[in-house]
Amino acid sequence: MQGGILLPRLDRAGLIFGAVALGLAILIPILNLIVPTDSAFHVPPHVVALMGKYLCYALLALSVDLVWGYCGILSLGHGAFFALGGYAMGMYLMRQIGPRGMYGHPTLPDFMVFLNWQELPWYWLGFDQFWFAAIMVLLAPGLLAGLLGWLAFRSRVTGVYLSIITQAMTFALLLAFFRNDMGFGGNNGLTDFKDILGAPLQADGTRSALFAASAIALAFGFILCRWIVRSKLGRVLVAIRDAESRTRFLGYRVEQYKLLVFVTSACMAGVAGALYVPQVGIINPGEFSPANSIEAVIWVAVGGRGTLIGSVIGAVLVNFGKTLLTNALPEIWLFALGGLFIAVTLFLPRGIVGLWTGYWAKRREKQAASIATQPVTEGS
């Protein structure tokens, strides 16, 4: 019975994506760990970390596309869910340091010793366990999205008002996490991590494993999203996106649908953040910056909203461009990003994927037309 629902919806796109991601998860570690350093095919460790980071961004973009592309919820606060997942992972990594901190305190992280705290705050309890942190990675963003969504969708806050609320949410969290007395390391955030699940974070093997984990998480995220959007629920989401009140008159409780998809998406963003933090080695309140959430929306717009694959392509390409540009001309990145957004909105409203599918649709049309106009030689 379960298979009857689960398997047929695992379509070609999902399988191909899963296969490519799995291939990368195997290939990149081999190219990094086994291929000798002097070979042209060797992938240096910093590139592995960089690509892992891109994949985390891609998962974040995927989560944005699920709510924005399919349900019309333009969230400008998904960076907050990403950051919360990141902090949950960061707290685990902090507690992994144990007595190896600068001050050598057996349990307290350095910043708490520095603040003269005597014991661990209650909300840090349990984070020495990986399974607990892993649950929190889902729970913290999920609960926040659930609360915000419940309030907003119930009172039918939509469109630009909802976007502003989500943006305000991430800004409020930014200010809160900056405060030292919140107990999340304030301005400096959480850093100086040593190891994860007992494996040293700086080791090449760990980096490769984290990259592979990111690729697999992205594949799972993609397949989950495909499974959702190809279900009848997915068609209800699109109906809500295109004609919300019509959907209500059909008897669908729009707020329940929005809430479900918003929470699912927030959890995905949380996982992305959790995988991101060990690969970049730090999480600080800057991750809550409203600009981060806006950037994620731009990735999706560039790749093609409402296509899933477009969000992945957009996230990877834009971030690759960002890496190149911030190395060469760091001061113009924000202008380039803004210009890119305007250009895409004006000239590529359906993004890169839209350009591609549009091209093929046109070709097929032309072919059909040329067949239709060919002189009839048989019959009559």
Binding site: I5, K232, L233, V236, V238, A243, L250, G251, V254
Partner: protein
């Protein structure tokens, strides 16, 4: 003239003393109306008479300031939301055809199909389970040949039929239809009258329409609305002869 208050028992839809104001403007003014089970009723009235607003208060889009609205004689609609009212069995066709343009004709009907409406029910819904019902409806609304076309690509008349098909799929007890033939060709108009009469055989239908030929085709009791309340009702010939109706509506 009704002097005593009628009994809501056994009625399909019962409106009593319903009023709605927008910024002091009375769109509905002490409106009372009764539709019996299986009845088809045509509502006419000049622009701004409150016909669409009446549908809004019945379907929960607008909350009335005063008055009673009962469904099936006992269910109070004024306390329910749109989705709840829709699941009770009240379907609505909007003045402007609103189909889901980026879905196919088939998916439009599928979404409207009576069935469980919760997010988990739809998430685990098996594709193909309702094919027979969808095919039957496509047959009725004459769109079988266009099942895989995006609804946005349909002609205006076809969109109106698709929307009627979506209403059929909901299997409502009461159907509210707002100006179904606006912008249709004569042939489409006649076809729509046929379709609505067919539909009305198994449920109550309330049709708002301006087109007099169409209303004559429907051949049912007519209620004339004016400034938010009932001006006159009876057969089309009866209301057409009513001097008050001639003054505010037909005479213009």
């Amino acid at each position: 003239m009704m002097l005593t208050k009628p009994d809501p028992q056994h009625t399909q839809l019962y409106l009593d003393g319903v009023s709605v104001s927008f910024d002091g403007f009375r769109a509905l003014n002490n409106l009372s109306l009764i539709i019996m089970p299986g009845e088809m009723r045509a509502i006419i009235g000049p622009n701004g008479a409150g016909k669409t607003t009446m549908m809004d208060v019945i379907t929960g889009k607008t909350k009335p300031d005063r008055g009673t609205i009962l469904f099936d004689g006992d269910t109070n609609l004024t306390e329910m939301d749109e989705a709840g009212i829709a699941t009770l069995g009240i379907g609505r066709k909007f003045q402007k055809p609103t189909v889901f343009e980026s879905h196919t004709v088939w998916d439009n009907i599928d979404l409207a199909l009576a069935g469980r409406r919760g997010p988990f029910a739809t998430l685990f819904h098996r594709d193909g389970a309702d094919d027979d019902r969808i095919l039957a409806i496509l047959e009725t609304i004459r769109l079988s040949g266009r099942r895989d076309v995006l609804a946005g690509a349909l002609s205006h008349g076809q969109k109106q039929w698709l929307e009627i098909g979506m209403l059929l799929a909901q299997e409502p007890k009461l159907l509210l239809v707002d100006e179904p033939v606006a912008g249709m060709t004569d042939a489409e108009t006649a076809e729509t009258a046929r379709l609505l009469r067919e539909i009305a055989q198994t449920r109550s239908v309330v049709v708002v329409e301006h087109d007099m030929t169409f209303v004559r085709d429907l051949d049912v009791k007519v209620t004339v609305l004016h400034e938010g309340s009932v001006l006159s009702d009876g057969s089309l010939d009866h209301v057409s002869a009513d001097p008050r109706v001639i003054e505010v509506y037909l005479g213009r």
